[in-house]
């Protein structure tokens, strides 16, 4: 028995982007939010370091500098009109979050506190700038909580633990979604005028990841299956500092507060790769440097990791060497207590999972899969696009990590994702409501749940088939080895083959649980299907790009090739065939140049 | 800020539990130690009680003890009752019954204290 609901705007996902969209959409239209997790469980809550905005609360900063840093960070693949828009909106949305109640850390004079972050600089001095607005090391947690709180205040309608499995379209117009209610296992049809996808990323494709179990690329996979393209999937960020073997993230904020990367020889090796900003170079650069150190046998004890050191004596030593000062000009000095108060959760993670105290010992770290720059192509209004010409898909919007505006291009700067969520979540919410007001409900097809049923029945109909975890593990290892930090043509070709094989074997996947209530077994299997689709599209997109740009680093093509490859990839999927097209990058003020930090 | 949070029965009772508790430390401990340890039940009989209750000081002492200990204990019991009984109407009925019980028992105790022992009536 399928229930049908009708809401003018349906928002899929209750992370930062979804909730921000919900707040704005609900002001103008009847809005409901569907989320497979309770809203406060969303991955936005894991974000640590901060949200970027050129407030200049502690030292001079400018919106233009933020824009330029973002363009440069994106390795010139970001669309500059979108970047300008985001950076210009940044101060306003940060103040808006403060007005909503977000408990930012504060400066001595009561303003929002700011810290340094990778790739964010004073464009004149080229030195790292205090731009990341933070609430200790749980900025994402506070954003998620604050937005959820405001949704409660504004009585936004939630369907918690509803897992969306399909997007409904009629004649090229989005008109709803199909979701399974976890508690009952029943399918529900949501008929809508506007649908906003804010489902987050897909970092679970890789073995070592900072991403949550729920990060399975549902949004991208669903739209791919509905014949829509995915943009720039080859650009996936590996964060330099994940806890050894676990992948749990150690925020860049640690380096912002003065922490340094040290190799097995005790050298601060980032001096060699990024002489100016050193440990605060952008993430792709740092991750690659760590890999190179490890490859040269400079890992700790020759092993596959290096140290992130934030012991106060080490921080102070290097701060002195760098001639680092506080905003008032006095030399930069920290104590263990100050560090603890600035990154308490990091200290807790290290104590819990590594049994070490980072104030007394260095942390063993490894690059970890972290952030999808690519996703559903959208314009600055969050409207989803269906082709290289920028044709809008009526009724469909996307925001947050699932979307590709593109403001992050080939590499995202730290703090820019949280910013992306609120800026474009807000825009998508507004536009979705506006669109809903001017549009009618497009009628639903006759059997809107058919496609979903097929997918589920195929899994439920089998027994004794392939195991979900086995396929998942093979996918993760292969992607880590061959579509990871460094890539080669052969490696990626074999990854493509492997993904095709796994997708074939996936047809034979089976689960133990055949019930309805909270059948997480079934949903894990369904999510694996999404991951495999996105993994294949990622590998194909990556294989087709013979250059190194941002997070996409080719050993066989180590240079950036602006003449031929300064363009976005669009990937369509048809069965196990992936079709690629390209579209130009919007360039306004900043001509591509070589990127040095 | 203009609005003040007004104390209600629960908040007053919460404070009462704490202050009366502190008061009960000397009152109850001394009482128990005196009667059970220093004097001992074997030395207690009605004549002993009669002597004590003839003394205004001891009567006051016992009176305070009765007042605080029993009120403290009965409110504590009410808390436990609230844990186990959730229907507002039942809670109210039991609260009233407990109030009556408290008043009756306290009255009986207080009367005995005030009137003193009557060893002469022992047959």
């Amino acid at each position: 028995m399928t229930q049908t609901h009708q809401h003018e705007v349906i928002i899929v996902g209750a992370g930062g982007a979804g909730l921000m969209a919900a707040l704005y959409a609900s002001r103008g239209a009847d809005t409901a939010v569907l989320s497979k997790l309770y809203p406060t469980r969303s991955h936005t809550g894991a974000a640590q370091g901060g949200i970027g905005a050129a407030l200049g609360n502690l030292e001079p900063d400018k919106v233009e500098w933020h824009s330029f840093d973002t363009v440069k960070g994106s390795d010139y693949l970001g669309d500059q009109d979108a970047i300008d828009y985001m950076c210009a909106q940044a101060p306003e949305v940060v103040y808006e979050l403060e007005h909503m109640g977000l408990p930012f850390s504060r400066t001595r004079d009561g303003k929002i506190a700011q810290r340094r972050f990778g790739g964010h600089t004073n464009n004149e001095t080229k030195q790292p700038v205090l731009r990341s607005c933070y609430a200790a090391d749980r900025t994402g947690h506070m954003i998620l909580q604050t937005l959820y709180q405001n949704c409660i205040k504004n009585k936004v309608h939630f369907y918690d633990e509803f897992h969306v499995l399909d997007l409904l379209m009629n004649d090229g117009v989005a008109n709803g979604v199909v979701a399974v209610e976890l508690a009952t296992g029943e399918l529900h049809v949501f008929h809508a005028k506007s649908v906003v996808f804010a489902t987050g990323g897909h970092g679970r494709i890789w073995e070592l990841t900072s991403n949550a179990y729920a990060y399975t690329g549902d949004g991208v996979a669903i739209t791919l299956r509905r014949g829509l393209p995915a943009q720039d999937l080859e650009f996936f960020q590996f964060h330099p500092t994940g806890i050894l073997k676990l992948g749990i993230l150690i925020t860049e904020g640690v380096r912002g507060e003065g922490g340094v990367l040290i190799n097995g020889k005790g050298e601060r090796f980032m001096e060699r790769y990024a002489p100016t900003v050193k440990d605060l170079a952008s993430r792709d650069v740092v991750s690659r440097s760590i890999y190179l150190e490890i490859r040269d046998g400079n890992g700790i004890k020759g092993d596959r990791y290096v140290h992130l050191d934030m012991r106060p004596e080490v921080v102070n030593h290097y701060a002195e060497l760098d001639g680092r000062t506080l905003p008032d000009g006095t030399p930069y000095r920290v104590t263990g207590e100050q560090l603890l108060s600035k990154v308490p959760d990091i200290v807790d993670f290290c104590r819990t999972y590594l049994g070490i105290d980072p104030i007394k010992e260095p942390m063993p770290i490894q690059p970890t899969a972290h952030y999808a720059m690519g996703g559903i192509p959208t314009n600055v209004h969050g409207q989803a696009l269906s082709d290289a010409q920028g044709t809008i898909v009526p009724g469909l919007f996307a925001a947050g990590e699932v979307a590709c505006v593109s403001v992050h291009g080939a590499n995202r700067l730290g703090t820019n994702s949280l910013l992306d969520l609120v800026v474009f979540g807000k825009e998508a919410g507004k536009m979705a409501a506006e669109y809903a007001k001017s549009a009618d409900y497009k009628p639903l097809e006759n059997n809107p749940t058919d496609f979903t049923r097929q997918q589920l029945d195929r899994i439920l109909g089998k027994s004794g088939g392939e195991k979900v975890v086995t396929l998942g593990e093979e996918m993760k290892t292969k992607m880590m080895d061959d579509v990871g930090v460094f890539r080669t043509a052969e490696g990626m070709a074999s990854a493509i083959e492997k993904m095709r094989e796994l997708r074939e074997r996936y047809k034979n996947v089976s689960v133990d649980d055949h019930g309805k209530r909270f059948n997480t077994d079934l949903l894990n299997a369904w999510e694996l299907g999404c991951l495999l689709d996105v993994a294949l599209a990622t590998a194909v997109s990556a294989h087709a790009r013979p250059e190194s740009r941002g997070a996409h680093a080719r050993e066989d093509f180590p240079k950036r090739n602006d003449a031929e490859w300064l363009k976005h990839t669009l990937a369509w999927m048809d069965g196990d065939q992936v079709r690629l097209e390209y579209k130009p990058v919007t360039i306004t003020k900043y001509e591509p140049k070589e990127r040095v930090y | 800020m203009a609005s003040q949070v007004k104390p209600n029965f629960e908040t007053t009772a919460w404070r009462f539990m704490r202050y009366s508790g502190i008061l009960l430390i000397p009152l109850a401990w001394f009482h128990v130690y005196l009667q059970d340890v220093i004097v001992g039940v074997h030395a207690i009989d009605i004549d002993y009680v009669a002597v004590r209750l003839a003394d205004a000081g001891w009567v006051t002492y016992n009176f305070l003890l009765l007042l605080f200990a029993f009120a403290h204990g009965m409110y504590g019991l009410r808390q436990v009752m609230f844990d186990l009984v959730h229907k507002p109407s039942t809670r109210r009925i039991l609260s009233i019954l407990m109030l009556i019980f408290w008043l009756v028992v306290s009255a009986i105790g207080a009367t005995a204290l005030a009137m003193g022992a009557r060893p002469e009536l022992v047959q």
Partner: protein, 236 residues
Amino acid sequence: MLVYLKIYRYNPEAGRNVPSFDTYNIEAEPTDRVLDLLEEIKGHIDGTVSFRRSCAHGVCGSDAMRINGRNMLACKALVKDVGTEITIEPILGLPVLKDMIVDMEPFFNSYKSLMPFLINEDVPADGKERLQSPEQRERFDDTTKCILCAACTTSCPVFWSDDQYVGPATIVNAHRFIFDSRDQAANKRLEILADHGGAFRCRTAFNCTEACPREIHVTQAIAEVKNAITSGGVEH
């Protein structure tokens, strides 16, 4: 090392309408999380074992459960800390729907009853941030850490007995606003908490503080709320 797990099972759909335990022996590392063991069992041995999880590092609040009789997050409990004989049960006091999955609605309803949002419509004329000193910010820092995992509330003896008690998590979240210098409804919240089912039901059993995976001083926050009420409210 070999780990012996005893897992609570309940699933009326599959005919298991009387809760019982299943046992599993699996190989594990001392540094494995209990969540890793559950994933191992679900993935390789019995896919019907059900539990919630997402972040796997103690920040999303999905996987509070009773491990060896005590509330914890499965993703923050390591084998070396809980031992090689591990009993896993759902948290106590919320209706159990399937295995470790409980109905969280009553918990979130309680949370929502205390207006968990900043109440202050005045914003600075220049549109910038309201000022707040680091000391004022520090005043409620501890209670901003809450991830709504319910480990505290479902460890509380008063809550087991009386589900009309709002529970420690709700008070923690009210505390976060009551002591925020920017909030203008502190005393309204305090009035609600002064009533039946509010802060004065707390008997300082302290299980909440012991259970909190975010190391929030829960009992302390409750005591501060109680004192704010008995002293007539707070002023910022």
